[in-house]
Amino acid sequence: MKAIKNLGLVILLIVLAAFSSKNISLNEGYGIGDVATDFSLKDVDGNTVSLSDFTEAKGFLVIFTCNTCPYAVAYEDRIIALDAKYKPLGVPVIAINPNNPAAKPGDNFEKMKVRAAEKGFTFPYLFDEGQKIYPQYGATKTPHVYLLEKTSKGNVVRYIGAIDDNYQDASQVEEKFVENAVDAMLGGGEIKVKTTRAIGCGIK
């Protein structure tokens, strides 16, 4: 009997430890359910863009990405496709380059303009000048997606992570994490996979 009681205690401890360390790892930046900050950042045309400009939007796909990271480049066409699919449904893509051009010259503002023109970006491609926004979100790498839902409280974080489960080959994707999350959000259902992990280029 005593042994069982002890076992119970151990299990309780394990569960508590599991939750507490989970919280610790999510401590930096936003977790699911947090209200995300708005921002005023310059796009490649020199205009200042804020989330509040999009009065009709139901939410946003805020994607931290850049010109140079091989993973970001591998996902460019899929980011364009996400914007094409979800902007008409009220969830536009807002891309932000979080890198410091002094550390990564290939990610400077001029090169952002070139890349946006080459690929024909249909969404704002913003420069996180002074690197003030990405740390608040807790983005650590590119590409790093935050799905926000516009609510009366503000823009609430609904999903954080990767676009899908195969960076190498869009035709081999089995789970479209972001699309599943947006579809669930727009349909009023529960987002089943709220966070995912992927290798990416560390933000510098």
Partner: protein, 188 residues
């Protein structure tokens, strides 16, 4: 310390169980609405080869769970990752200096297939790298990242140090001194 390991292990299994559950629930076949660049798609379909062994995660996993008397320092890196390249000499030095202490360094490259010949192989040759180099080629990152370490968000450089009694994971870069301090927790 032992207690911490036990908790870590329990946490690991909990997370693996929960993440597997989520994944199998979510399997959905959806018609692809994506306009993929044909040239790029064809490029990734070419089969790439390398002089280094190429593993998927299942193939790599035994190298992360050996139970012999060695201490393994497993570094996840890529040639396009600047801080990884910067810390590479420290791993090389450890590999040479700590051989008699039964330490083995394994460098797991996450370079993409089209970089194996063009970047990875020339890099290893130019730097004269002596540690074991293997390639991890497994795009299902959301499945395998937590199996390496539940706390890993996916950033590199990242390093796993383990032996049959103990394992620690570090999502960070190292100086030579810092690497030695961590390694000494395993070999002393």
């Amino acid at each position: 310390m032992k207690m911490k390991n036990l908790l870590g292990l329990a946490l690991l299994s909990l997370l693996i169980l929960s993440s597997c559950g989520e994944i199998s629930n979510e399997k959905k076949e959806e018609a692809s609405s994506e306009k993929t660049d044909l040239a790029e798609t064809q490029a990734v379909k070419k089969s790439y080869t390398s002089k280094f062994p190429i593993y998927d995660f299942e193939g790599l996993e035994p190298m992360l769970n050996k139970t012999d008397d060695k201490t393994y320092v497993v570094n996840f890196w890529a040639t396009w990752c600047k801080p990884c390249v910067e810390e590479m000499p420290h791993f090389e030095r450890i590999n040479a200096e700590q051989k008699e202490n039964n330490v083995e360094v394994i460098l797991v490259s996450l370079d993409m297939p089209n970089m194996w010949r063009s970047r990875l192989e020339p890099f290893v040759e130019k730097k004269g790298i002596q540690s074991t180099v293997v390639i991890l080629d497994d795009p299902k990152q959301n499945e395998w990242i937590p199996k390496v370490a539940p706390e890993w968000g996916g950033g590199i450089p990242a390093t796993l140090i383990y032996n049959k009694d103990k394992r620690n994971f570090y999502e960070r870069g190292f100086t030579y001194e810092e690497l030695n301090i961590e390694l000494n927790k395993f070999i002393n």
